[in-house]
Amino acid sequence: MSGQSGAGTPPVAAGGSGRSGRAASPAWRVALGRVRAYMGRHQSLSIVIGLALFAIALPFIVLLPPLNGFGTQKDFIGGFADAGVFVLLAIGLNVVVGFAGLLDLGYAAFFAIGAYTYAYGASPFSGLDIPFWPMLLVGAIVAAMFGVLLGAPTLRLRGDYLAIVTLGFGEIVPVVFLNADTYTNGTNGITGLAQPSAYGLFGVNGFGFTNPWPYFLTVVLIIAVAFIFLYRLQDSRIGRAWVAIREDELAAASMGINTVTTKLLAFSIGASTSGLAGVFYASKLSIVSPDQFGFTVSFTALAMVVLGGMGNIWGVAAGAFIVYEIQAQGLKQLGAFVQSLHIPTFALGPMSVDLGSINFINFQYLLYGLALVLMMLLRPEGLFPSRRRRSELHESPEEAAESNEELVQA
């Protein structure tokens, strides 16, 4: 704040010419800048190209050493499809937390609602057999409706209080699915969900458990659509209203923004993305049960958003992918690696320690915790922050140096 009152002095011209005036930037930077500018003008196209490049490159990357030692290409592709679920969760939560600034700790509730919607739409339990593709839309809409319903009571709350209430809703929803046995089959969950069908497109009919490819491509497709919609919303009057509410709710209301509808919209759009993820997840696993949607899912999604960089859709997606792969692949491989070293059991006081027997997957939440602590201390804006978030948390060194120069010149 003190920097601001001192900011009365900088000469008018400095701001405008600051960026372009800095000479001798390397050629790759200029090229990068041009690519950025192009991406800014053709967002949807660059999203499609970017995701397509990822989707094409990933299957080949896993064939290269050392990754090919860790599993077959099929295993990896199946893992990527699961990672895609979390990418969807993270970019949806990013709308609520990153754009509108509403800390939501019960986000898994909408994931559960999406998944159960599919379970009701296409399983022997309900007797219905609605195809997967329309159910995607239905799941998103149902989740969005619950987003509004569960968001409405929290509207007057801010900060800690909002977090606690959403945490409560996040717990309530799986517990309802657990205890309403007659309608949800309780702990056992609903099984035998129909697999999606591609109607013979690309020679694929049913998706099947043994072939992860259609799932991988489907999730990439869903992510691409979600990306495009979210980017467009971010760049509209609604996106601006979200940011305005996050920065100063009172000022936003005084500028004519209906804070109630705008917040509800953030909740419902976040929830609908989560609903998409839920439908896809349910169809891939072919079973839904309440224990899949506990607090750990909400927490994991939030950790992904924070680590990736709140407010930046690409950043959050990358964060989700990295975190998921470390958790699902990295920890497993670390265990196998340590085991392969054959470290002899040694005594540590009264305990005998056998490093080879440690199951590293059990330590994932320890690692999340550590990663979050380190992140908050070293890089609070996340790995790939949005421009906004970065400028909020600290002045970049360049800017600081610039303003120092100005002070010296003055």
Binding site: G16, R232, D235, I238, A244, M255, G256
Partner: protein, 335 residues
């Protein structure tokens, strides 16, 4: 200007606002004629900003009412007890019908259907009450229930404001700030935006042009892409004015717009007020401590002290009023 040129834009009737035992504003009558610049002055803690916040819809007054553009917008709620009845009434009716049909046919299905419909209606009514769309407000009005307008309703009605301590959206650019100001005048729905329908694209293009125009109007040309927090102090104040103007108000509330400015910046700001009135035809309500500004631009001045209106009139009259001198300088100074 037509016949209603002299009609007041805003009429405050005996507005009172109490915070616990403290009477911040006490039965203040106030009206602002169309096209005028009216100032509100008074020592610190006189209740000026509280009065402002009541008018802007931030506080519900303890007593009294505010009429804006000929319509009562702000007052203490009337028949507020009846509102919950409106929420449950449709539900109760449907349930009663269900029970009645059940009694007639004895089939049992009607009750279940009625229950589902009733629950849906209850949820819908609650959501309506939370969102408060114009339809809901009109329904309440028809039933004789009055609810004070919210700040965003006042902006839609045509009231723009700035803040005493600058409240810009700091991480947004100058032009984005102005575009947030336009929010209530833009109508693209989320669907329009997500699908980039022509309506959204046309509106965004127009909004961008308008934002540039407003920034140029207040003298911030060339700083459209500057982040608000990086603007100089005086520019931030001007950006606040541009943001308020972007909502196309009829009445502009300016809360100490020249606080902390040097004399030349203050002079520029004063010129800007004049241009807002002459070029845009807006009415201005000004809170200001700088007496030179107040005496220079105001058509009329109202003086508050400890929540009471102690004087009102042209700058000349107020300047000579012994009660005003007393309030500012203490007893004995007027003698």
């Amino acid at each position: 200007m037509t016949a209603d040129a002299a009609a007041p834009v805003l009429v405050a009737k005996r507005v009172t606002k109490q915070f616990g035992g403290l009477v911040a504003v006490n039965a203040v009558d106030f009206d602002i004629p169309q096209g005028s610049i009216v100032s509100l002055i008074g020592p610190n803690g006189a209740g000026k900003t509280t009065f402002f916040n009541v008018v802007a819809g931030l506080y519900e007054p303890t007593d009294g009412s505010v009429e804006f553009a000929g319509k009562e917008m702000i007052a203490r709620g009337r028949r507020a007890w009846a509102e919950p009845l409106v929420w449950v009434l449709p539900t109760v009716i449907v349930m009663l019908l269900g029970v009645l049909l059940e009694q007639l046919t004895k089939s049992g299905a009607e009750l279940a259907v009625a229950l589902v419909i009733a629950l849906g209606l209850l949820i819908t009514m609650f959501l309506l009450a939370i969102i408060r769309p114009p339809i809901y407000d009109r329904l309440l009005y028809r039933l004789g229930i009055f609810k004070s307008a919210r700040p965003n309703d006042m902006v839609v009605a045509g009231l723009g404001r700035t803040f005493q301590n600058i409240r810009l959206f700091k991480t947004m650019t100058a032009s984005e700030n102005v575009m947030v100001g336009m929010h209530s005048r833009l109508h693209a729905s989320p669907l329009d935006a997500a699908l980039r329908l022509p309506r959204h694209r046309r509106e965004e293009k127009e909004a961008d042009i308008q934002a540039r125009r407003w920034l140029a109007f207040v003298g911030l040309k060339g700083k459209e892409q500057e982040t608000a927090r990086n603007l100089a102090y005086g520019d931030q104040r001007r950006l606040e004015v541009a943001r308020a103007l972007a909502s196309k108000p009829r009445l502009l509330l300016l809360d100490e717009p020249t606080a902390g400015m040097n004399p030349s910046e203050t002079a520029q700001m004063t010129t800007l007020f004049g241009r807002i009135r002459t070029e845009l035809g807006l009415t201005i309500l000004l809170i200001e401590h700088d007496m030179q500004v107040v005496m220079g631009v105001s058509d009329r001045i109202t003086v508050l002290d400890h929540g009471d209106k102690i004087s009102e009139g042209t700058p000349e009259e107020v300047r000579r009023d012994p009660r005003v001198i007393e309030a500012y300088l203490g007893k004995g100074a007027s003698a």
